[in-house]
């Protein structure tokens, strides 16, 4: 590979830019342009790495420095949704599997965490006024006199920590295996995941005595005796969440750079060729679906810790679709776009609901429609255009610094044309 001449290399990169505009993540992968060393495991270009570092700095330095504790905890909440967005980029953007039920996995992760915290908050001393002390308050209200069987293991933190990824993971495995082995895909799969979201939220609301019903599981206080409610605890949780999110982001980048990442893109466009190369398409799809579910579950657990409650309103169809919109806004194939899209949508929601309490739902709807009409590729497309424009402007101004022999030959022309650009 190294022995190849420069000529085809230039052709390949140039074509990758023009042809791959619809699929940005496949360009210049595996060719000689990759980053060396540690970063090369995650990013194909220095620009992508720098974008990641910028987002990391934004989350770890800029937000904590500029925002009040209240606003920072809001950002922390948004960032838990970004886990779902990351999972969607891998599942949908790469694998072409659109799930409209990611709220299920977010919710299950969140409920696992909430069950542990609720049991810790329901010690016999603080629940002494109940007719059955020592069980969660909502159970007492619903005339339950003993802790249900499936709640008991959640007294153990180790069990809970394991259950957070495993419970949603197993559910995703069952759904994925059942659907993908039967070649259910596309719209049908989306509808089925949406149905699962509807079923689970109805189940949670209906089984009030076991789940806290429509109110969810509230009044969570401590984690191993550590109060999660004060500002300083919230800021610690913010950084834990941010750290986990950045690690998850790197994990997704690592996946996207691997053969699995290329296989997912290939599978999305040429499923039969992948199958006839000896890959089990069903297994690959199930794997990424489970991967996305586990990421969502981690986000859900972090949500419960930071916000202090969990309710069915984060499980059903509406939140699930909102999460897809966040990923779409980011540009569904751009991993960082999942984080940025989530931030933009949720900042927008908060801003509109504070300024225009009566109109905010319409405004957020208009934002979505506008984004889809103006930037069909989301922030990823916007970034590409902006970069291209900035690059053109740069070239126009400093047109005398050529890049290749080809540019050298045209530099006179490019310089003359380029000066008109600002």
């Amino acid at each position: 590979m190294d022995a190849t001449t420069k000529e085809p290399e230039i052709v390949a990169t140039a074509s990758a830019v023009t042809v791959a505009s619809a699929t940005p993540s496949t360009k210049s992968k595996g060719t000689g342009s990759s980053l060396p060393g540690f970063w090369g495991k995650f990013f194909s270009t220095a620009a992508e790495r720098n974008a990641f570092l910028l987002v990391a700095a934004l989350i770890l330095l800029v937000f904590p420095a500029l925002l009040s504790p209240f606003r920072l905890s809001l950002v922390g909440k948004y960032l838990t949704y970004a886990f779902v967005g990351l999972g969607l980029v891998v599942c949908w953007g790469y694998g072409g599997i659109l799930s409209l039920g990611q709220g299920v996995f977010f919710g299950l992760g969140g409920y696992c965490m909430a069950m542990f915290l609720k049991l810790e908050a329901s010690d016999p001393v603080s629940t002494a006024i109940q007719s059955t002390p020592g069980i969660p308050d909502f159970m007492d209200w619903n005339q339950l006199t003993a802790l249900p069987m499936f709640w008991k293991p959640f007294k153990s933190f180790l069990f809970t920590a394991a259950a957070i990824p495993i419970v949603p993971g197993i559910l995703a495995l069952i759904i994925g295996a059942a659907m993908f082995k039967r070649r259910v895909g596309g719209v049908y799969f989306a509808i089925i995941t949406q149905t699962v979201a509807a079923i689970l939220s109805i189940l949670i609301i209906g089984q009030q005595g076991f789940t806290g019903g429509v109110n969810g599981i509230t009044d969570l206080k401590t984690l191993h005796g550590w109060d999660i409610r004060p500002d300083h605890a919230k800021s610690i949780l913010y950084f834990i969440n941010a750290g986990l999110l950045l690690v998850a982001t790197l994990l997704c980048y690592h996946l996207s750079r691997s053969k699995l990442g290329r296989l997912l893109l290939a599978m999305r466009d040429k499923e039969d060729r992948v199958r006839f190369s000896g890959y089990s398409v069903a297994n690959l799809k199930t794997f990424v679906f489970v991967f996305g579910a586990i990421l969502s579950a981690i986000g859900g657990a972090m949500f419960t810790l930071q916000v202090g409650f969990m309710s069915p309103s984060f499980v059903g169809i509406v939140p699930s679709i909102e999460m897809v919109i966040c990923a779409a806004l980011g540009g569904r194939e751009w991993i960082l776009g999942a984080i940025l899209g989530t931030l933009v949508v949720n900042f927008g929601k908060t801003f509109f609901s504070e300024r225009f309490p009566e109109l905010w739902l319409f405004l957020i709807g208009a934002l979505f429609i506008g984004v889809v009409m103006v930037f069909p590729n989301g922030l990823a497309g916007l970034r590409r255009d902006a970069l291209a424009k900035a690059w053109a402007g740069f070239r126009g101004r400093f047109g005398k610094t050529p890049l290749s022999p080809n540019d050298l030959a045209q530099s006179g022309l490019a310089g003359a044309g380029g000066t008109e650009k600002p």
């Binding site: 590979m1 190849t4 085809p8 290399e9 052709v11 390949a12 074509s15 990758a16 042809v19 791959a20 699929t23 496949t26 360009k27 992968k29 595996g30 060719t31 000689g32 690592h254 996946l255 691997s258 053969k259 699995l260 290329r262 296989l263 893109l265 290939a266 466009d269 040429k270 039969d272 060729r273 199958r275 006839f276 190369s277 000896g278 890959y279 089990s280 398409v281 297994n283 690959l284 794997f287 990424v288």
Partner: protein, 248 residues
């Protein structure tokens, strides 16, 4: 016939129908290693369906496909591929946005599970194998180009290369020279002659000159049924075949 010995591929009594239409009807034929077999027949004779049945893309209604003595009709596509049966589609089916190198690497028969693919390493032996195959299909100096830059013929060769890198014992090619120029056809014929050593190659083809130049034996299908089999000369003088091809 099949009881005497084990053939590389033994197709016996294979049938499938779509909505009552018998696409393949009680078909039997046998192929040995080192053989280059052409399957010909008029439009709708069921040629591609036979490949679909062997490769597991279509489920047979009855009959059996024994590959090295193992029944294939109950296996899934990827399992059949892993047993050593490669299949090329009629229209070139390569990964357009990936480079030639990556196309071949993706088909390299290691790291086929999800985690295996995630942690697949581009080892020197992978690179060596990719170069070896690229040499064979004459795409050695296009390794870093994305596949969409290749000509139609080169895409066909790339897909053949993607099969070769898996080292299958049975390769099935559906119209490999369709849409190729005359020099490209010649080159493809040379390639096929080279690669049928140590394996069997089945070619479905319309182009009689091409079939004559490559095939050791020819099987003629007509309306899903076995019509004739033998060398090209024998086939072309067979009155049944002449009737089918030239009409009444």
């Amino acid at each position: 016939m099949s009881k005497d010995r084990t053939y590389l591929l033994a197709v016996e009594g294979l049938s499938v129908s779509f909505d009552g239409f018998k696409a393949v009807d009680d078909l039997s034929f046998y192929i040995d290693s080192d053989e280059l077999r052409a399957i010909i027949g008029p439009n709708g004779a069921g040629k591609t369906t036979v490949l679909d049945l062997i490769s597991g893309r279509t489920r047979a209604k009855s009959g059996s496909v024994l590959f090295k003595g193992e029944e294939l009709t109950k296996l899934r596509e990827h399992e059949i591929v892993r047993r050593g049966v490669g299949r090329k589609f009629q229209t070139p089916s390569v990964y357009e946005t990936l480079t030639v190198f990556e196309n071949l690497e993706m088909s390299y028969p290691h790291g086929r599970s999800a985690l295996g693919a995630w942690f697949f390493k581009r080892t020197p032996s992978v690179v060596e194998k990719v170069h070896e195959v690229a040499e064979l299909i004459d795409l050695k100096d296009r390794l870093n180009d994305t596949a969409d830059l290749l000509s139609h013929g080169q895409k066909q060769w790339l897909e053949i290369g993607m099969l070769l890198i898996q080292d299958p014992q049975l390769m099935m090619l559906d119209e490999p020279v369709a849409g190729m120029s005359a020099p490209e056809r010649e080159k493809t014929a040379e390639l096929l002659k080279k690669i049928c050593k140590g394996r069997a190659v089945v070619v479905v083809e319309h182009d009689m000159d091409f079939v004559r130049s490559i095939a050791h034996r020819v099987t003629v299908l007509h309306q899903g049924k076995w019509l004739a089999e033998g060398s090209m000369d024998k086939i072309q003088s067979d009155p049944k075949v002449i009737e089918v091809y030239l009409g009444h």
